[in-house]
Amino acid sequence: MIKIEIQNATLGYGDIDVVKEVALAAKPGEMIGLVGPNGSGKSTIIKSLSRIITPHSGRVLVNGRDIGTIPRRELSLMVGVVPQTPLLPSAYTAFEIVLMGRSPHLGLFQYESKHDLEITWWAMERTSTQHLADRRVGELSGGEIQSVIIARVLAQETEIVLLDEPTANLDIGRQIEVLNLIKGLCRQENKLTAVVALHDLNLASHYCDRLVLIHNGQIHAEGRPAAVITAENIEEVYGSGSYVHTHPLSGLPAVLPRVDYTKK
């Protein structure tokens, strides 16, 4: 099992610190949700966990090794990423894009074997994207592209998957489908560890084992959804425009707007 953790790291771009002194460790088989307002640093954390940015201070460790010392190819066999609003080269077919997930597994001049093609097809099956296989990605909708990228990360067969807003362009049906899939893969003999940045607090509360609420570049609260999504925390981080109640069926916290357009 692969462990990934952030040890008291300050993260950012250039001279600017976005996230200060955060610590975070994902347990194998866990689905962790990163929540917080726009610009709070969710994507920055995802980028540091995939070595797109190096910490200004502190460390990011994969299996106890500093992530900066792990060659990219080796890292890409352990950590897969679904980026936020990915841009795809429009001339490639969806199948070719998903097949790119197999690249870390291939040698220099090696072509995809039957085994690679089968895994690719399995990944498209799991994400209901088979019917898109020979369509060019330039013709696909935002939601379809999102699903194709999720298929690609499945084809990559990594134990850790980082997802940055994987449900942003999806309708509620597809959102549930995607999160069910990821949750299911985490549950299967602890197969997958997922770190998911989510805007939707209700989805985060219902799918994640643990939530990390980020505010102004720091961890505001961390723990089980019921402990993080409280009326107090939500008001402190998001303002007073919403209220928190307990979902009658799941018993988990849910956030709804407080409709009052007369008050400022």
Partner: protein, 350 residues
């Protein structure tokens, strides 16, 4: 298995490579038979085959025919093929690395940078002496590398390289470089005629000694680019996604830009500036056989070589005995294609 059904295109592209390799040989043989002295295709073939190792054919042809085919036309045909392949692959590599469909040695100033370097090489006293080709290709390479570096850094907006800024920076730098070339020509004195003739692009001076230098350099550069064929597909996803799929993008960019610029410089050093090959060929190949660089690159090599050999046949027959500069032929076919791409591209962007 349904997934296996999705890959019939792969087999088709393998056949295409085999067929085009045959076409290349046929076009090459044809090119060696046409010219100011007409040598029948059969005789040309017999002469060429007799030169292969372990084959003995009783000559039925005059010695002058053999000299024309083997010493005059063959190096020219091979050099045209090598240069066509080099420019096509360099174009494909620039387009992939910059993720910009209009990146091309001629349009981004690499060819002009090479030309300036080469002209300086011609004018330096050491270039004329026994060193021969030594200094010209090296200075051409340095010139091309510097122009790529300048254009890339001027055109870059953050991590993106927009079509418009790339073309504008390329055109502006090319204008500057060619102005310097013109100035150097005015002070060049006696050697100016030869340099101008070389500059506008021609294969008429091709010799085996040039093939012997150009061929290994181009083979080496193309080989390096081919190693990265799959990585070139991944980098189309953008640098972040490519890194997340295991590519060391910084190292890859440096190696591939150097390799593409090296083969551009080799091509320019020996035949002058030939524009638009690097844009017509990869795009035509992409339209027919798709964007996968593992096929795009070898197919571009073959189609580029065939294209430039054919263009050279036109160049020396259309107005015979006067030769039309080959850059004129490639521009006449390339510019309409380029404008079509530019138009289509801007429509997509809007």
């Amino acid at each position: 298995m349904a997934s296996a059904m999705l890959f019939p295109r792969r087999r088709g592209r393998v056949y295409a490579i085999a067929i085009l390799a045959g076409v290349l040989l046929a076009v090459g043989a044809f090119a060696a038979s046409v010219g100011s002295v007409d040598i029948p295709l059969g005789t040309t073939l017999a002469i060429l085959i007799s030169k292969l190792p372990f084959i003995n054919i009783e000559p039925t042809w005059t010695e002058s025919f053999e000299i024309i085919v083997v010493d005059i036309r063959l190096p020219r045909v091979i050099l045209a093929g090598v240069v066509g392949a080099a420019l096509a692959v360099a174009g494909a590599a620039y387009q992939a690395l910059f993720r910009n469909p209009l990146a091309e040695p001629y349009l981004i100033g690499a060819a002009q940078g090479a030309a300036l370097g080469a002209v300086i090489g011609f004018l330096l006293p050491i270039g004329v002496t026994g060193l021969g080709y030594g200094v010209v290709p090296i200075l051409a390479f340095i010139g091309a590398l510097l122009s790529i570096f300048i254009v890339y850094n001027i055109a870059r907006v953050g991590r993106l390289l927009p079509v418009t800024t790339l073309i504008l920076a390329g055109v502006a730098l090319s204008a500057l470089l060619m102005a310097i070339v013109s100035y150097l020509l005015t002070i060049a004195g006696d050697s100016v005629h030869g340099i101008i003739f070389w500059l506008i692009g021609s294969f008429s001076l091709s010799k085996w000694s040039e093939v012997a230098v150009a061929l290994p350099v181009v083979l080496f550069g193309v080989g390096v680019i081919m190693i990265y064929a799959r990585s070139l597909n991944l980098i189309q996803l953008g640098e972040e996604q490519a890194q997340q799929l295991g590519i060391n993008t910084e190292r890859m960019k440096i190696i591939l830009l150097t390799a593409a610029t090296l083969i551009t410089a080799a091509a320019v050093s020996f035949v002058g500036i030939i524009g638009f090959v690097g844009i017509i060929i990869p795009h035509a190949v992409r339209l027919i056989w798709g964007p996968d660089h593992r096929f795009l690159l070898p197919l571009s090599i073959l189609v580029g070589a065939i294209f430039l050999i054919l263009a050279d046949i036109l160049a020396r027959t259309v107005n015979a005995p006067t030769e039309v500069p080959i850059g004129v032929i490639t521009a006449l076919t390339g510019v309409p294609f380029f404008l079509y791409l530019l138009r289509r591209r801007t429509r997509i962007l809007n």
